[in-house]
Structures are given as structure tokens and as C-alpha cells.
């Protein structure tokens, strides 16, 4: 393809013409750029010179006020308090080391803290303010302000910091806030600029964490002018942020405080739930800890003390603890059998004290046996053999199905951390988890809430609330968000025949109120407040054949962590249920002695306005109860202050 000279000539002409056009366009652009330079550097020079020479514009974020967390009646559980602090900006400080040394001389600061602050200041962009000291006293704060001329770049500020006035009472439910960590930022695609503020505090666990988005609010910004030393001259523009929303929980702080005090130093948990709507009235786990320690940055010694304690104060036993429910599970087995039609309330089972199955012998807790037992007595006297027999007939899958229907083996959606699912085993579960066939011995163990069955105190409370109300009650922790009441849908009815529920309730009534009932010493005598319930004692060890022959070692003689868990579930008033309660005392011994009295006190506290009324207790116990109640370390209901330590 040879080109003629004329073609080449023509194409060169085009090329040259286009090149000249391009040159013209470039020239025009250069002219525009030059004109813009003229405009900025000559026409507007004065204005910009002023901005640059006299003042420098800086933009700072205004952290929004975090939403307050209150109890159901508006008592503050997590609030904000004034926090006097000192921030430093590198660009204004100049010699950061020198300024920090001067600062350390007037406010308390260790050499390590000083070095950490210096490193942090140097690692960030020059105009980012860094908090170097917090929670100063007014005197320290004033000292910094007075010495301002010697401390370029140092600004004393008043900020907000989180405070938990009811400290230990709500440590597990509400949790605490802490500074944003790298881990918190991981996986956030577009993190809120607030999270970039050094030491900005966000919820770490509990309601503080799970409702972080509601509580945090949105940042505002302010444009400020600082002079050449970095001191703020004036604020140019301020865009207020949106404060976080306040939250009201369903919990009653007074009941919670009573429960926490009543549990004392036991390793235990109490949940009280409103059976009409699922409101969690009380959710106490003991022992507890002071969340304010975490906000300030907990010391190694304090943290070690919490983690090394064998009563596990950091664990929220109400939702995270998974315990074998023991005899409190018997209602599930009974309802499964009744619904399946393999038993009626009048079905008789003979209890000789044990049953034999193949090689193994399964014992009733009562060695001599209960004789002939019907449903009522099987609950009130907690006969194990009755359940061994009917469970074999109904089978584990139906029992597990009933357990789930009553709220076991599932995780409820409430804003708390580490909520356990527990375990409601069935044949498929064992095959998948242990690669083994389900055996009849497993059913026998499960029938009395041992073996693979695990439940949390919250689940037990839900179970009890469902039995008491006959409805699918779901637990609820948040009542209001910023004056807006959250709607509660009426729970649909449980798909269980009313006469079966009535028979089980009758059995639970007898547990507490029959003269042979296992919890008869924890009965409520006030006819308007009568309690029904079920005791449970769950083993944490195997009793060997040899031991059984020699006589089972009593709990008192065992080391603490080998003793049985004590459980109790109940509700009151019997004829018009209002509250359901569940109590687990870890290694507390028998459910009737260790758990039931606590359940009675707490439910009475929830049912009455103040302390439990003495005349609700059997007359023989009133003296003892009165002393006990008097000695409880309760907070002042108005100030929320804990009692002064009594001198001994």
C-alpha cells in the first residue's frame, strides 16, 4: 500500500492544522490557569494573607452527647458527667517533648503515660488534638489554664465521660464503654469519623455495645481560628451534632438492686420476667464488678482480681451461663408426655427408688422410693422414676420439641453480650455432634434435665413465663427509645391443651404449698401473692456405684466447685400470674434450700412497692426474714448511694 505524494501532503496538512488547534486549546487552558492564579494571588491576596498570617483555620469534630440509659421508671443507669481534660495539638506545640515535660510537672502523670502521649501525638496528623490527661480535678485543671503561656498547643477542655451511678448493679446488663480499638475498626467499611477521635469511647459489651448506634448520635463540626501559637481565637462556624437517643430498659433498678444484694457473694443469677409481656424486670448476676473501672482504664491488679476469682464476676450468668436444669426441666417432660397422649395426669407409676435398664441402674433422689406416683406428686415431691418411665414412652424428639416450644435451646434477641443458646438435645443433634446413636439412657438422663440438656437462667424464666401464661412470651429488655414506647405484640397462645397446662401448674402449686412439697418452706402465705414453682438440683459430678453404696457424700463435705447447682423456677401470684422468676445458685447445694428462698424474696420484692411484706412469709420465719432484710446492703432508693460500710 504505497501512498502517493499528494496523499501524504494532504494528511500532513490535516496533522498540522489539528496540531495548531491543539496548541490553541493548550494556550487557552494556560491562560485560564494564569487568570485563576491572578485571581487568587492578587485579587484575593489580602483576604487569604489575613487568614494565613493572623489566624489559621482549623476544623474540629464535636462529639455528640451519648444517650442515657435508664431503668423502666427513668432512674439513670448510665449517664454522662463533666470530664476536665487536657488536649495537645502538635502543630501548635512545636517542641512536643518540652511542652509535655512542663505539663507533667503540674498535673499527675507518670513517665510512661507521658511517653505514650508523646508517641501518640507524633504518630498523628499535626492538627489532630490528642487527649493527654483526663478526669482532672478542678484545681489541676485551673493550673493548666493559668500556665497556658508556657504550654503552647495545650488546651484545657471540658468533655463528657460515661458514668454508671448504680455501678455493680448493672455491670452485666448495660456493660461499659471504652476507647475505640483497632479491633473495633476492623471490618468497618466506612467508619464514622468520630471513631477516629483518639480515645473516643464506644460501647464494649452489653446494652452499651449492642445499642451503640442508637446511643452514639452524630458528630458535629466546628471551624475555629487559631493564632500562630495554636490558641483558639474564635469559632467561625458551628454545626451541632445530633445527640444519641436515650434508652429506657424494662428492668426495675430497685428490684435489680434488691436481687443483687440478696444474692450477696454467691455465684448466682436471678431473672424476673413479666409474664404478661416478656419485660425483663430483673436480670442479676453475682458477683458483679464496677463498670466505672473499665471506663477509666482498669488497672492490671484490678483486672487480675476479676479474672482470677473462681466465682467469675465478669461472666453474665443470667444469659451466658448454661446449666443442666435438673428437676426444673420436669415440666417439659411432663407436658411432652401429656401432649403426646402417652400419659394423663392420672397415670400411675410405681417408684421403687430406681429403675434398671440393661446393665445400668438409674436412681431416684429418694433411695427408698416414692411408691405409687401420679403427675401431681411427681412434681411436688420431684420423683425421678416417674419421668424415667414416661420419657421412655414419649421419646427424646418430642421432649426436645416441647423444650423448644417453651423457649429452651434458642437465643433470644436482646441487646446483651455472650447470650448462650443452651442445648436442647435430640437424636439428630447427637448424631451430628458426637457421631453416635441416641441411646435410651440419654433419654432417661434428659428427662430430669441432666445429661446433655443445658439452659440459661433467662431461658428458664421464659419457660416458666410460658407455662404460667400459656402464651409464647418473648423476653424484652428495651422499653422506650427517646420517649417512644416500643410496641409489644401480644404473644400468640402456646399450642398446648389448657387442661395439660393446668395439671402442670397444679403440680407446681403443690411443690411450694403442699405439706410434702420440696419447696414448702419457701411458700408465700399471703393468699393474693401465692407462688408456684419447681425446685431443681443438678449434679456437676458423677456419683459412682461405690459411693452410692457407701452413702452419697453430702454437699457440705464436697469442695465448693464439686457441689450441686441449686435451681428454682416459679411464678406468682398463682391464680393470676404476673411475674416469673428463675434462680440458679452455682454449687449452692439443694434447690429447695439454696435457690427457692431467694426466688421468693425477689418475686415478693417485684410484686410489692418496697421491701417484701413480712406478713407474706409463714409466721415462724418472720423473725429470721426481718433480720435478713434489714441487713441487706441496699442502695438509697433516691440517691442511689450504696450503704456506708458497717463497722465490725
Amino acid at each position: 500500500m504505497k501512498r502517493t505524494a499528494r496523499d501524504t501532503e494532504a494528511s500532513n496538512r490535516t496533522l498540522n492544522r489539528r496540531t495548531l488547534m491543539l496548541g490553541g486549546a493548550m494556550g487557552a487552558m494556560v491562560a485560564v490557569l494564569g487568570a485563576r492564579m491572578r485571581y487568587l494571588q492578587i485579587d484575593q491576596a489580602d483576604e487569604f494573607q489575613l487568614l494565613a498570617e493572623e489566624n489559621r483555620i482549623n476544623i474540629r469534630l464535636i462529639p455528640p452527647e451519648r444517650g442515657i440509659i435508664m431503668d423502666r421508671n427513668g432512674k439513670v443507669i448510665a449517664g454522662n458527667e463533666q470530664n476536665y481534660r487536657v488536649v495537645i495539638t502538635r502543630e501548635a506545640a512545636g517542641d512536643v517533648d518540652l511542652v509535655m515535660r512542663r505539663l507533667a510537672a503540674i498535673i499527675p502523670m507518670t513517665a510512661e503515660e507521658m511517653q505514650a502521649s508523646i508517641d501518640e501525638v507524633k504518630s498523628l496528623r499535626a492538627f489532630v488534638p490528642v487527649t493527654v490527661a483526663e478526669r482532672l480535678t478542678w484545681e489541676e485543671f485551673s493550673k493548666v489554664a493559668v500556665n497556658a503561656p508556657a504550654l503552647p498547643g495545650v488546651v484545657p477542655e471540658v468533655g463528657q465521660s460515661r458514668r454508671y451511678p448504680l455501678d455493680t448493679d448493672f455491670a452485666h446488663v448495660v456493660g461499659y464503654v471504652g476507647p475505640v480499638s483497632e479491633k473495633d475498626l476492623e471490618g468497618l467499611e466506612n467508619p464514622d469519623p468520630l471513631l477516629r477521635i483518639p480515645k473516643f469511647q464506644i460501647g464494649k459489651i452489653g446494652v452499651e455495645k449492642w445499642m451503640e448506634d442508637t446511643l452514639r448520635g452524630e458528630a458535629g463540626t466546628k471551624r475555629i481560628e487559631v493564632n500562630s501559637a495554636g490558641r483558639v481565637m474564635r469559632e467561625l462556624e458551628r454545626q451541632e451534632g445530633t445527640p444519641g437517643l436515650d434508652i429506657r430498659l424494662t428492668i426495675d433498678a430497685d428490684v435489680q438492686n434488691f436481687a443483687q444484694a440478696r444474692l450477696g457473694s454467691e455465684s448466682a443469677a436471678v431473672v424476673v420476667m413479666d409474664v404478661t409481656n416478656g419485660d425483663i424486670i430483673c436480670c442479676a448476676s453475682s458477683p458483679s464488678f464496677d463498670p466505672n473501672l473499665f471506663v477509666r482504664g482498669i488497672s492490671h491488679a484490678d483486672y487480675a482480681a476479676l479474672t482470677e476469682n473462681d466465682h467469675r464476676p465478669l461472666a453474665n450468668k443470667t444469659v451466658s451461663g448454661a446449666y443442666p436444669p435438673g428437676s426444673t426441666f420436669k415440666m417439659v417432660t411432663a407436658l411432652a408426655a401429656l401432649e403426646a397422649g402417652v400419659a394423663t395426669p392420672e397415670t400411675k407409676v410405681s417408684c421403687p427408688g430406681y429403675i434398671e435398664f440393661g446393665e445400668r441402674r438409674f436412681h431416684c433422689w429418694k433411695r427408698s422410693g416414692h411408691g405409687t406416683v401420679r403427675l401431681g406428686r411427681s412434681l411436688s415431691e420431684s420423683c425421678d422414676v416417674y419421668y424415667y418411665e414416661i420419657a421412655q414412652k414419649v421419646g427424646i424428639d418430642k421432649i426436645a420439641e416441647m423444650g423448644r416450644r417453651l423457649g429452651l435451646g434458642q437465643r433470644f434477641d436482646i441487646p446483651m453480650s455472650a447470650i448462650t443458646e443452651g442445648n436442647m438435645p435430640d437424636k439428630a443433634w447427637k448424631l451430628e455432634r458426637h457421631k453416635q446413636e441416641w441411646r435410651i439412657g440419654d433419654t432417661i438422663n434428659a428427662s430430669i434435665g441432666q445429661g446433655y440438656v443445658l439452659t440459661s437462667p433467662l431461658q428458664l424464666a421464659v419457660m416458666t413465663a410460658r407455662i404460667a401464661s400459656g402464651r409464647q412470651i418473648v423476653p424484652r429488655l428495651v422499653r422506650m427509645v427517646q420517649d417512644r414506647e416500643l410496641p409489644v405484640a401480644e404473644a400468640p397462645a402456646l399450642d398446648i391443651a389448657p387442661e395439660h397446662l393446668a395439671a402442670v401448674r397444679q403440680g407446681m402449686y403443690e411443690v411450694v404449698n403442699d405439706e410434702h412439697g420440696t419447696a414448702k418452706s419457701s411458700r408465700i402465705v399471703d393468699p393474693a401473692l401465692v407462688m408456684a414453682g419447681k425446685t431443681g438440683t443438678s449434679q456437676v459430678r458423677n456419683i459412682t456405684k461405690a459411693e452410692r453404696e457407701a452413702g452419697v457424700i453430702s454437699n457440705d463435705q464436697l469442695p465448693w466447685n464439686r457441689r450441686d447447682h441449686a435451681l428454682f423456677v416459679g411464678y406468682a401470684p398463682y391464680d393470676n400470674p404476673r411475674y416469673a422468676v428463675s434462680v440458679v445458685v452455682e454449687h449452692g447445694g439443694g434447690g429447695s434450700t439454696a435457690a427457692a428462698p431467694i426466688a421468693r424474696d425477689v418475686i415478693l420484692r417485684a410484686l410489692s412497692d418496697g421491701l417484701p411484706p413480712l406478713d407474706a412469709y409463714p409466721s415462724s420465719q418472720r423473725g429470721r426474714i426481718e433480720t435478713m432484710l434489714k441487713e441487706l446492703p441496699l442502695r438509697d432508693p433516691v440517691t442511689g448511694k450504696p450503704p456506708a460500710p458497717t463497722e465490725t
Binding site: R3, L15, R18, M26, V30, M37, L51, R56
Partner: protein, 379 residues
């Protein structure tokens, strides 16, 4: 006809080629780069080793490369155009899948001794391959659809790869430089008009349908466009840079605050002050006089390039020179518009001034190609 005149008409050979290079261009490039060294020295607070010395070393290496490239006959470069393009393209594919993640974007291959940025290489290999293509193509056919489609694909494919890195600035540069070569090669203005009209109507469509059920983009994508177009909507991010850059520029005034006297950059108000925003320091310290002089130097470089392109009767050479010049021009235009608050913030450096080795070397190699075309032009 003297002996000397006779020799001039021939293509020079050997070391004598150096005499026939476009020396004004060499001097201008060195002058602009020297301004850069000065600024880097000033920004580092009078410290040579922070930025200025490494930049000078790279410039020296780049100059050696430029001379080496200039000595090689232009017809060799023409025959290498396709290969060079393919190599750069394959390297681009490699960074896409094995690249080191630096600054949040995959841009380079780490060879141990040097970090190779294929997107930088692509800038001039693309120009080379387009120039070679139009040199090969019968000029009468340049506007036929098929022959327009081929260069469009040559431009768009690497652009998409660069865009995926993601590197918005460089991909924009590839398109603009490529389109300029096509324009100068004589592709019918109708095509440019059509693309322009399509682009405008697409933009108009995207924005007019906003808020209606037929909108093209998600709401959050619209929001991103908003902050991109109006940085003041994001006063802590992009907006901060622009506000501070304008203060630096404006406060420079007529003659500036003097060398090493700029407060904005000294006090660290300016981010990226040694790379994309280096012009602000120059404008602050040397004022309108300094800034405008730099613009003048740039204009002179562009002028000498265009004249060299017009002088050259070899089609490949002309187009190559135009392509290099266009690249250079668009970098300057986009960078200056950005720092003067006339365009959204796109990460584009200022050629020969901004700190950064890879861009500097590639640019000098590009000027080497211009010199080669100039030395070996048909006489």
C-alpha cells in the same frame, strides 16, 4: 553549498547526534526540575536528604535514560511500539492479580530493586502504539468506523485495568492523551462531537433522574459524587486540603513570602505538600511572580514540543511528540486546576515537580522519545 550545510541535510550519526538534539527543551526541563528540587528542599525545612536529594538522584538517572533513548533511531522505537504496549499491558494484568497493595490501591510490582508501576509505563507505550498505528494506516481511512474502533479499544482496555486498581487520575490521563493523538491524526470531528454529546447527556440523565424511581445510581453513589464535586461538603476530608491550599496560594500574594518562609506548609497545614500539592508551596513562597513563571516554563516546553511536531515530516514522530506533550499538558492542567480549587481532587502529580521517582523517570524517557524523533527527523 559548504560541507557543513551538506552534512546537516543528512541524519546525524554517532556521538554527533547529541549536537542535533532539541537543546532548548533539555534546558527547560532541567530548569523546571530544579525548581522542584528547590521546593522540596524548602518543604523539608531546609533539609536536603528528606526529599530533594533522592529526587535529584532520580532526575540524574532519568536524564541518562533520556539521552540513551534519544540516541536510538526513531524507527527502532516505531518497530518496538507494539511489543512495548503488549509488555505494559501484561504487566498491568499482573498488578491486577499479584500487585502489592500500597496506599490502598494495587499499583506496582515489587521487583526488589525497583517498584514498577505499569500504569506509568502504559502512558507512553499507549501513545507509541497509537502513533505507530496511524503511521501504518492509510490517512484516507482514519475516520472509517472499524479503524476508529481499533484505537478506541487500544485506549479503553488498559484504562479499565488502571481504573480497577483503582487509579482514577491515571486512567483519566490515558483517555485524554489517547484521544488527543486520535484527534491530531485526523479522526473526523463528528466522532469527538458524538462522544462529547453522549457523555454530557449521560451526565445530565444521571442527575435529572435523581430522586425519581428510574434513577441510575444508588443514593449513596450520588452522595459520593456530591462530595467529589463539592469538597466543602466534606470539610474534614477533601475539603480540608482545598481550603488550606487556597490559603497558601492566596497568602503568597504578588511576590510571595520568600524562600523557606511559607507558613502554611511549614506548619503542616498542607497535606501531600511534597507530592500533589507542591505547587501551593511554590505559590506561597514565590507568589504570583513565581507561580506564573513556572506556568510560563511549562508553556515554553509545550510550545517547543508542538513546534518540533510541526517541523517533523515523519508522521509517527509527529504523533509521538504530540502524545508526549499532551500527556505532559493534561497532568499540568488537572493538577493546577485541582490545587487552585477549580476541579475536584484527583490524585494527579505535577510533572517534574512532585516528589516521586517512577513518574519522573517515565516522563524523562518520554522526552527521550521526543528527542529521538527530533534527532532522527527526515531532512
Amino acid at each position: 553549498m559548504s560541507f557543513l550545510e551538506y552534512r546537516v541535510k543528512q541524519a546525524p550519526t554517532g556521538i554527533r547526534k547529541i549536537l542535533y538534539m532539541n537543546w532548548p527543551l533539555v534546558v527547560l526541563v532541567t530548569a523546571v526540575a530544579s525548581v522542584g528540587f528547590l521546593m522540596l528542599y524548602s518543604i523539608a525545612g531546609g533539609n536536603l536528604d528528606t526529599w530533594a536529594r533522592p529526587q535529584m538522584e532520580r532526575f540524574a538517572v532519568g536524564m541518562v535514560l533520556m539521552f540513551a533513548v534519544a540516541m536510538v533511531p526513531i524507527w527502532f522505537w516505531r518497530s518496538m511500539a507494539g511489543v512495548a504496549y503488549l509488555v505494559a499491558f501484561v504487566l498491568l494484568l499482573i498488578v491486577e492479580f499479584f500487585g502489592t497493595v500500597g496506599m490502598g490501591a494495587q499499583r506496582w510490582i515489587d521487583l526488589g530493586f525497583i517498584r514498577l508501576q505499569p500504569s506509568e509505563m502504559m502512558k507512553f507505550t499507549l501513545v507509541m502504539v497509537l502513533a505507530a498505528y496511524y503511521d501504518w494506516l492509510d490517512p484516507k481511512r482514519v475516520s472509517r468506523p472499524l479503524y476508529v474502533l481499533i484505537p478506541v479499544l487500544l485506549i479503553v482496555t488498559p484504562t479499565v485495568l488502571v481504573l480497577m486498581q483503582p487509579n482514577l487520575g491515571t486512567s483519566l490521563m490515558l483517555i485524554l492523551a489517547g484521544a488527543t493523538v486520535m484527534f491530531v491524526a485526523g479522526v473526523s470531528l463528528w466522532y469527538f462531537g458524538a462522544v462529547l454529546a453522549l457523555g454530557i447527556s449521560a451526565i445530565v440523565g444521571v442527575f435529572t433522574l435523581r430522586g425519581t424511581p428510574w434513577q441510575f445510581l444508588h443514593d449513596y453513589q450520588y452522595k459520593r459524587i456530591d462530595t467529589f464535586l463539592d469538597p466543602s461538603a466534606d470539610p474534614l476530608g477533601a475539603g480540608y486540603n482545598i481550603i488550606q491550599a487556597k490559603i497558601a496560594l492566596g497568602s503568597g500574594g504578588w511576590s510571595g513570602k520568600g524562600f523557606m518562609q511559607g507558613t502554611q506548609s511549614r506548619l503542616n497545614f498542607l497535606p501531600e505538600k511534597h507530592t500533589d500539592f507542591i505547587f501551593t508551596t511554590l505559590a506561597e513562597e514565590f507568589g504570583f511572580v513565581g507561580a506564573f513563571s513556572l506556568l510560563g516554563l511549562y508553556a515554553l516546553i509545550l510550545g517547543f514540543c508542538l513546534v518540533a511536531a510541526l517541523q517533523n515530516r515523519d508522521r509517527f514522530s509527529s504523533l509521538l511528540i504530540i502524545g508526549v506533550a499532551a500527556n505532559f499538558f493534561f497532568y499540568i492542567a488537572v493538577n493546577l486546576s485541582m490545587v487552585m480549587g477549580m476541579a475536584p481532587v484527583v490524585g494527579v502529580p505535577l510533572p517534574l515537580l512532585s516528589y516521586g521517582g517512577s513518574a519522573m523517570m517515565v516522563l524523562l524517557v518520554g522526552f527521550g522519545l521526543v528527542q529521538s524523533a527530533h534527532v532522527h527527523r527526515p531532512r
